[in-house]
Amino acid sequence: MRISTFWYCFKQGIINICRNIWFSLASTAIISACIFLFCVFFSIITNIQHMVVSAESTMGITVFFEETLSGDEILEIGERIESEKGSLIKGMEYISAEAAWESFKTEYFGENTDLAEGFAQDNPLAGSASYEIYLYDIEDQASMVEYLQSVNGVRKVNYSNSAVAGLSSFNRILTLLFGVIIAMLLAVAVFLISNTISVAAEFRKSENKIMRLIGATNFMIRAPFVVEGTILGLVGAAVPIVAMFFLYNKTVEYVMERFNLLSGIIQFLPIGEVYPAMAGISLLLGGGLGCIVSFMTIRKHLRV
């Protein structure tokens, strides 16, 4: 396509928008609302997923064994667990009673190592050899714990039971809820864009007829309407994208300030990690929606 033709179609698209400014504004507002919700949803889901992933990597299941078992027997049980449930396990670490005591000493007594001297010949954590097990998916935790508790020789299984798994299911419910809301708004947006394009086509009816008789191709006749739809979609997307840039940091600051106690648990992603993908998808969604809906609508109206 020639540059002059492109500019012609672009200019006509803008003229269409200006001619039906109220319809255009209504379409843009609905697209903005739809994409704003998408951005909110995207930010929340991305952050929850980030929290779940970081929780998965830090929260493990600790398995303690019968005190009568020797180190070799514990290692043997460990191998069995790995061979039977290896597909769920991201990492597995054996912590001997000695290593557990060393770690405890450093953590508990700190620099006052002489306080721990009294236990030099008598490891208080003897019989506390354990396995730290990290899973790929925290949702498998319950079944894994159940399995571990049924293994012969296992005395106790420690795990953080509901917090992380709760986050995961919360994430799923949110996805569903936002999905439904966005789908409803999308349907309204499709209807409004389609109406706007229909009105524009009606305005240009005689012009389009002349174009057809002069020998303009379908592409040339439809292009201004597709440009119009695409611009409505892109502008509709740009508004919430810009708004989110400011709102995201403000919201994170507000939550951290207001719920100070949660700062150790909730770790928000910096905007730089959320924004590029969110802005890209939003623009694609807005522009794509406008482009496809206007193309389909104008196809119905104009035939050579």
Binding site: T5, L213, G215
Partner: protein
């Protein structure tokens, strides 16, 4: 060359607009098509414009068989034709220059070429000084000249004019006919559908008369053949 043979168009069972019409028009001819309202003139024009398809028969324009033409070739075919209407059909929100340039813009002619050809065409139709005017600032005759300029800007082989003087006073009507004659002298085939006895009688061109969908006369240097 336009070859129309055994052309029939039926809109519904009770209404046959054309009944086995045979017409042959050579390149560079000037032809009037006359007839009463409902005689089939407009249907013939619409078939030539490929706006409607014939029920039967064959229409060949410059070796292009309209019946066998795929839809994707229709825009290219229409670029071979120029069309002028009784009601001018100008774009009211655009200047004279823009109205004429429009015909080139929408088929993707480069801007440089448009800037060259539009002033030339406006000079031909005698509207060079009014290129900035909007249609409502022009007389009927001037508006029709703009429509003719728009129809000719892409150098069509055939100019189809549907009652081009229908909305004009006799003086403007004569001027438009002189302009069409001049265009015909430059090599364009001109087909004019008209009701105007004065014009047909004065021009002394070929006259094809239709009545109830049938060609009732086809005369070289003919005259008006029926009473309104």
């Amino acid at each position: 060359m336009i070859e129309i043979s055994k052309l029939t168009k039926t809109y519904d069972r009770s209404s046959r607009a054309l009944k086995g019409v045979d017409i042959s028009i050579e390149d560079g001819e000037f032809v009037f098509i006359t007839g009463r309202s409902g005689s089939g003139k407009s249907t013939l024009l619409r078939i030539l414009l490929k706006e409607v398809d014939p029920s039967s028969g064959r229409v060949v324009v410059n070796d292009m068989d309209l019946g066998a033409m795929p839809r994707r070739y229709v825009p290219k075919y229409r670029r071979m034709l120029g069309v002028v209407f009784q009601d001018f059909r100008l774009l009211k929100d655009r200047t004279v220059y823009e109205n004429v340039a429009f015909a080139q813009r929408v088929i993707g002619v480069p801007g440089r070429k448009i800037r060259e050809s539009v002033p030339r065409m406006l000079k031909l139709v005698g509207l060079s000084s009014k290129y900035k005017a909007f249609p409502h600032q022009l007389s009927g005759g001037e508006q029709q000249r703009v429509a003719i300029a728009r129809a000719l800007i892409n150098q069509p082989a055939v100019l189809l004019a549907d009652e081009p003087t229908g909305n004009l006073d006799p003086q403007n009507a004569m001027e438009i006919m002189k302009l069409l004659e001049e265009i015909n002298r430059r090599g364009t085939t001109v087909i004019v559908v008209t009701h105007s006895r004065d014009i047909v009688d004065m021009m002394k061109k070929r006259v094809i008369t239709l009545d109830k969908g049938v060609v009732i006369s086809d005369e070289r240097e003919g005259g008006y053949r029926y009473e309104n």
